[in-house]
Symmetry: C2
Subunit: 310 residues, 2 copies
């Protein structure tokens, strides 16, 4: 009997996962077919399981997260006690995030939205431009994704500051950490990019107090999780003009409810949680390698600590 | 008497030029003050001089172009016979062009305009995304600017093809050249970036025949010069859907006339010749170095050949 991995994804990527696992002799099972394979399913690769979903798989040995965060696995009855949870490591996911963040930082820095408004008005209005070296992008969260974004931004000439919970060192990045480093970090961040994991500690970190510390006219990019932000405080900072713009990819409720003020706010750009999507071809090797380690009785890598939230 | 350089620019950057030259002991003169300095003005740094403008400077020894191209200096009575013309070399100009090209290639690759339309319609519609390695950006013109854009795009994972008049080698770029290499180059270019100089040979190079060679659904970015494109042919390719989009920064006539169909075309994004602007702080060192060479009786570098057009 081949090893079996059951997949619950937000996207219709099953054929790509199936190919990627087949090469390693692992059979992918569609979520809707799981009841026919209950004894053989040892591994689950999931995005947002419902309570009880995973407990109903009696032979499950490892839970792999499809998303970059594991916050979707924190809650009552989501992951049975004692099961290891492995974080996603995907060079393709990282590359997609770098594209999204570069795009929005350049868009703010070069005032592309103003040029779009000019086009709608039939207005030819060149503006002087400033070099990227005069613009500081502040990256909150210097993990796999944040570190890659910081390096890419520094690589095309932006000044880059970074903030993380614990001390980090990154070449070409002014690094700050902890409560004590937050104010200094925020005061430099002309475009703030939030890539923190969602934990009990980070929930609501983007609020009136922290937004007020950004320089006047700053911009905000949220590619972390919706609940990192206090929506009313962000809207107030946009309405007052203290913030010039926000590019939001993640929200408290997804899909974003139709009546949410973000949809029609002139300073808000919305994308539907697509800043980056896990790519089966580049994500599977890490999962397969961990399955091999498990079978050989070795320690798994990139284990998440659900109590910490990442 | 200090060396004097007179400046005719499209932007109000005089104070920055003045500072940059003052450090080298060279006095910058505003264009409108030139008649008070006719005997002392040995150098002119210009954008789009009018016929006769330069001939009216009796002590002129070198003409420096502010723009990346020298096409604005080709024409009757623009540059007095025998005067050397030096091209612009500005790391700041190159960096700005890289920002603009990265932005628009990512915008097309990631279908950001579709997400903007979704937001206007209040529609939450995630789309599967493909890796940059499955998208080929084709760079026409592999000089200072095109080469930098090719390297930056390859650096974030795009497949990059390049085309130039004469053979070139660039790491990570599939290089094509000459008439013979054009069809193969175009057939690969899912986003075509035009950075050619405007010469008698390149005028109208983007036309029905060349656009037809692009893959169906391709995108086009013009950051070279307007007359490289046959506007009617580009509009036809956009109307038919053969091209998915165009980001145009340069035009036959600038400002773009108010009644031009580009303004309101749903597949066209317009910027007003701001893809990149010469930065005095990073451009002046090259000019100063050439002035020093001239004074020492040495050969100037980066001389333009107005007969060739670059």
């Amino acid at each position: 009997m081949r090893d079996q991995i059951v997949i619950k994804s937000g996207y219709d990527q099953f054929p790509a996962w199936e190919r990627a696992f087949a090469d390693a002799g692992i059979q992918a099972i569609r979520w809707e077919d799981r009841d026919d394979h209950l004894d053989a399913i040892r591994y689950a690769l999931v995005w947002k399981p419902a309570p009880g979903d995973l407990a109903a798989l009696p032979s499950l040995e490892i839970v792999f997260s499809i998303g970059a965060g594991v916050d979707h696995l924190v809650g009552d009855d989501l992951v049975p006690a004692g099961l290891p949870v492995v974080r996603n490591v995907d060079p393709g996911l990282t590359a997609g995030m770098v594209e999204h963040v570069l795009y929005h930082v350049i868009r703010f820095h070069r005032r592309m939205a103003d040029y779009e408004a000019d086009q709608r008005a039939g207005r030819w209005k060149p503006r002087l431009q400033t070099p990227a070296s005069s613009h500081t992008a502040g990256i909150m969260g210097l993990g796999e994704l944040g570190g890659a974004c910081a390096r890419a931004l520094a690589g095309i000439g932006f000044r880059v500051a970074g903030w993380s919970r614990r001390p980090r060192v990154a070449e070409g990045v002014d690094c700050f950490h902890g409560r004590d480093g937050l104010a200094e970090f925020l005061s430099r961040s002309e475009t703030l990019v939030c890539l923190l994991p969602l934990t009990a500690e980070t929930c609501g970190v983007i609020c009136r107090e922290t937004l007020a510390l950004l320089p006047a006219g700053a911009c905000f990019i949220n590619v972390g999780r919706g609940p990192l932000v206090v929506d009313g405080d962000l809207l107030a900072a946009l309405d007052s003009g203290h913030l010039r713009g926000a590019a939001l990819d993640v929200f408290h409720r997804e899909p974003l409810p139709p009546d949410h003020p973000y949809w029609r706010h002139p300073r808000v750009t919305i994308t539907p949680h697509v800043a980056s999507i896990t790519q089966p071809a580049t994500s599977a090797p890490h999962i397969i390698a961990n399955i091999r380690r498990h079978q050989a009785g070795e320690q798994l890598t990139h284990l998440a600590d659900l109590a910490l939230g990442y």
